[in-house]
C-alpha cells in the first residue's frame, strides 16, 4: 500500500481515491467487470436514471468527430424502480460507493427521485443532471438558468440526507454563476462538465449524422473547455468539484486536479481502453509519490494557488 493519501471528501462521502466514472459511459459498472476491478474505483457513477423507463433517441446515436464523439442516447434507462430492484444490489456487492445520476424533465421529478433513492443504503450520493430541457420553461435546458438550478438543488437536498452533486451543463455563458446557484441551493459538490452541444453532417446523405440531429460532444476534444470551467469555478465556490471531459490518461487527470478538481470522472476514455479508470488510479498515486507529495490535496488547484499562477486576461484582446 502506498503511503500517499489519495482519499477525498464530497460532502459526507469519503472516497478512497478521486477517480469515478462519467455517468452513461460505464453502464452500471457490472458490464465492465472483465476489465475493471470495481473495488479499486473511488466511486461508481451509474447511468442516468429517470422516474419512468425511457427508450431513448432514434439511431444513429453516436458518431465520431476529431478527437471526440457526438452522442444522443436520450437517457435510455429502465427507470428508477427497476434500477433499484435489479441493478443496485448487484453493484453494491462490490462495496465501492455508488453515485446515482438522476434526471427529470420537470423539476418535481428530481424531488421524487431523491425521495425514492433516499431509502437505498447502497446509494452513497446523488448526482443531479440538469442538462435536459425544462419542458415547462420553453425548452432551454434547466442547467442554463441559475434560478432553476438553485430550485432543483434545493429540492433534491430537501428529499435526501445523502450528499448531492449537481452536474452542470457547459453550454452556458457563465458557468460560475450556475455553479454558485447550485452551491447556494445546498449542493455538496459539483460535476463538470456534461457534454457540449454539437452536430455533425453526414454529407453523403445530406442530413445530420445523428438521428436526433444534435448531440453531446465528449472526449479529448472538449478537455480544454472542461479544464477552463473547472479552473474558473474552483476559484469561485467552496464545494468540491468532480472534473471530467476528455480524460484518457493519468496526465489528463492531473491537469484537472491542478485546475482545482477534487476528483475526476472518466467517460469516453472507457471506450478507448476499458481499463482507463484503473490506469488513472495508479497513475495519480505514482505521480504523487514520484513528486514527493504526501496528500492529493497538495496539488488540487495548484495551478492557481501556486507560485506560478498568473493573471487571467482576455485571450482575444489582452484587456
Amino acid at each position: 500500500m502506498s503511503k500517499v493519501k489519495t482519499a477525498v471528501k464530497i460532502g459526507t462521502l469519503t472516497v478512497k481515491n478521486p477517480v469515478t466514472t462519467a455517468s452513461g459511459t460505464f453502464g452500471s459498472g457490472l458490464e465492465m467487470r472483465e476489465y475493471v476491478d470495481l473495488r479499486k474505483l473511488g466511486a461508481i457513477t451509474v447511468k442516468g436514471t429517470t422516474l419512468k423507463s425511457r427508450a431513448g433517441n432514434p439511431l444513429p446515436r453516436c458518431t465520431e468527430t476529431p478527437s471526440g464523439t457526438l452522442n444522443s442516447i436520450g437517457l435510455e434507462n429502465p427507470g428508477v424502480d427497476v434500477f433499484v430492484a435489479d441493478i443496485l444490489p448487484q453493484v453494491a456487492a462490490y462495496e465501492t460507493p455508488i453515485i446515482v445520476n438522476i434526471a427529470g424533465s420537470e423539476i418535481p421529478e428530481y424531488g421524487r427521485l431523491a425521495e425514492i433513492l433516499e431509502n437505498e443504503d447502497a446509494v452513497s450520493a446523488l448526482e443531479a443532471n440538469v442538462s435536459c430541457p425544462n419542458v415547462k420553461s420553453g425548452g432551454m435546458a434547466l442547467g442554463t438558468d441559475p434560478d432553476l438550478v438553485y430550485q432543483v438543488t434545493k429540492l433534491v437536498k430537501e428529499n435526501t440526507s445523502k450528499p448531492v452533486i449537481v452536474k452542470l451543463s457547459p453550454n452556458v455563458t457563465d458557468i460560475v454563476s450556475i455553479a454558485k446557484a447550485a452551491e447556494e441551493g445546498g449542493a455538496d459538490g459539483l460535476n463538470l462538465i456534461n457534454s457540449v452541444l454539437g452536430l455533425a453532417i453526414d454529407i453523403e446523405h445530406k442530413r445530420p449524422a445523428l438521428g436526433n440531429i444534435v448531440g453531446g460532444l465528449s472526449g479529448p476534444a472538449i478537455k480544454p473547455i472542461a479544464l477552463r470551467m473547472v479552473y474558473q469555478t474552483a476559484q469561485a465556490v467552496t464545494i468540491p468539484i468532480i472534473g471530467l471531459g476528455g480524460i484518457v490518461s493519468w496526465q489528463d487527470a492531473i491537469e484537472f486536479l491542478m485546475a482545482g478538481a477534487t476528483a475526476v470522472g472518466i467517460g469516453t476514455g472507457n471506450f478507448l481502453d476499458p481499463a482507463t479508470t484503473m490506469k488513472v488510479v495508479d497513475g495519480i498515486e505514482k505521480y504523487l509519490e514520484d513528486h514527493g507529495f504526501s496528500d492529493i490535496h497538495e496539488i488540487i488547484g495548484i495551478a492557481w494557488k501556486g507560485q506560478n499562477a498568473g493573471k487571467e486576461g482576455c485571450h482575444v484582446c489582452s484587456e
Partner: protein, 257 residues
Amino acid sequence: MVEQGKILINEHVGKDIWRMELKAPWIAQKARPGQFVNVRLTEHTDPLLRRPISLHGIDADNGIICFLYLVVGKGTKIMSELENGDSLDLLGPLGNGFSTAFQGKRAVLIGGGIGSAPLYPLMEMLKAQKKSVTLIYGAKDQDSIVCLDLYKENQAEVIITTEDGSAGEKGFVTAPFEALLRNESVNYVYACGPSAMLRAVEELTLKYGVDGEISTEANMGCGLGVCLSCSTPGRDGKNRKVCTDGPVFKMGELAYE
C-alpha cells in the same frame, strides 16, 4: 480482453477489400463465429473510437485470427496501411456469435458484400457439425467477390449474384434465396449484409416459415454494452444492444422502422 495482435498478413484481395491475419492467441482461443473485435487504430486521439470488425477466421490451434475488411474511411484506411510485424490493439472477442444448434441439416448462409466476412468461420463450424452449407454471396461486381476458395475447399455450395452481372446471376441475393426456399428444404438461414438486404431476407424467411439469424451493424461507441449507442428496438418493444445482445439476432427479433 485487450490483446496486442501481431500482423502476419495484410493483403489486398479485392476492390477496396483487405484480408488481415494476426497472431492473437487469447482471442483465437475464446472466439466464436459471429463475434467481433474492436480495433484501436492509434494511441493518439484521432481517429478516436475503436472500429468493430468481425472475425473472418478463427484458428484456435495456431492462435491466429483473420479479418476481411472493406476500406471505407479513415479507420479502415489506417488498417490497410499496416505492415507485417506491426501490432494492433484488439479488444475482444465481443458480442454473442451465431448459434448452430438448429434442427435439420441444411443451412443457407447469405452474405451481402463485406457482410460475408463472419460467415466463413460459421461455415467451418457448421461443416464440423456435418451440416450441409449453401452460401449465397451477393456483391456489386466480380472484383468485390473474395475468398471463395475457402468455401470450395470445404465443399460448400456457392451461389453468386452481382448487381452488374459481371459474375454469377445478375441481381440480388433474394432471387436465388427465394428459389431455394421454394424448391428445396432449408432448415436454417444466416444472413449478414446491408440492412436493406437483411430486411428482404428476413421477410422471405418469415414468409416461408424458416428460422434463422442475422448479424447486424450499428454505430458503436464502446462495444461493451455501457454506452447504449447501438441500442436497437426489437419487435417486442424492448431495445437490444447490438454490441452485447448481438450482433447476431434471431430472424424477426428486431423491429425495422
